[in-house]
Symmetry: C2
């Protein structure tokens, strides 16, 4: 059975990506990063998805990239925007996906895995440069030059199965694969009980996805 | 004054690279990783080089990649080889330079720096895939797609000024720039007083470098 390493945040996209990797016959190793983000509830959802989806091993990796500041996701003095932006928004975390993929790459090499999965997509997204397919392809090229695996001719692949999917298509795909979205959290700024804010980018994309897929939205929103 | 981020371990190569960045007029921001390596004395040397060379800021970044095992540098149950290898040796740490460069990339972006320096070289080296120029160039291509900086047209450059230098040439260059090599440590396996073992790859390359440069070797070796 081939091993796959899956970047899992506990939101809609990564939980769906995990289900896709599993449906393709991979033995799944999930990695979740605690990097100083506001949202600690994500981590609990990631743990539940791993149990529900029968992950072989779930690694929770601590890395303090919040010390660099520069993002509203990790600098709690900055406000999370309530409207969409046409530029790269303040929630962008510098080099986040590169750092996460690099660490996943190290783990994959030790596991003997040649497949890494990331839930990046560029339809209903926040203009983050490190979600684009040309970025992920360049990471894959670099990864094959970086590692023992690549040098020894075992081609390493970075899978991004959702890259051209709308949020609606992602949810439809996940429902078909049995993903329980009531045990996911997408919100950047949940309240103290983990209820979603309804106004940040991921909340809006997620709500639109359920609405357009005509699937009941299981998200618990904050009262106000 | 342009800002440069320098990967600094506290050995010969990175200390020389720092001196080169400084000589090129960069305001230097050094980053040193504590990643579970055996050698804690390196870190002290890195700190001293930062003071000696007038670094603007020295960041010591903790990241537990030792949890993945798979390398004699981080798994203390494995022995450090005493002979050279024609393959990738057991001291190779999976994806190490990729993880370190990625974190440096995140910091560079927040600092507004477009230049990162790494002391990688492929003459007197241990066959690590992530020291080769084609790897570093691929990382640079990826980095320009990954970041706000790249998207906004500020070309990001990964400098590797030592890439084709022998250890002798590196030491000659460093001496010309005033590097104090008595305050560097290269050994993978120093004793409890921080004295070098004389037999690991970096010890042998370093000793050969001083000998061929006809410069007195300031390294303190263990007695036996």
């Amino acid at each position: 059975m081939k091993k796959g390493v899956i970047l899992l945040s506990g939101g809609v996209d990564s939980s769906t990506t995990l289900a896709i990797a599993k449906s393709q016959g991979f033995e799944c190793y999930a990695i979740t990063f605690q990097y100083g983000q506001r949202n600690h509830f994500e981590l609990e959802m990631a743990k539940r998805q791993c149990v529900l989806q029968g992950v072989k091993e779930h690694k929770i990796f601590n890395i303090d990239i919040a010390q660099f500041k520069g993002s509203a996701l990790t600098d709690h003095t900055l406000d999370i925007p309530k409207q969409a932006s046409t530029d790269i928004p303040i929630t962008y975390v510098p080099a986040r996906n590169t750092i996460f993929l690099s660490i996943a790459l190290g783990w994959a090499e030790v596991l003997g895995a040649h497949d890494i999965f990331i839930g990046a997509n560029i339809v209903d997204y926040s203009n983050y440069p490190d979600c684009r397919p040309e970025y992920i392809d360049a990471f894959q090229t670099m990864a094959n030059l970086a590692t023992r695996s690549g040098v020894e001719g075992n081609h390493l692949m970075i899978h991004r199965p959702l890259i051209q999917f709308s949020k609606t298509q992602i949810i439809e795909q996940g429902i078909a694969l049995g993903v329980d979205y009531s045990l996911t959290l997408s919100c950047y700024n949940p309240d103290s009980q983990g209820r979603a804010c309804k106004v940040c980018d991921p909340c809006r994309f997620r709500a639109k996805g359920f609405r357009e897929a005509q699937i009941e939205d299981p998200t618990i929103y904050t009262a106000n």
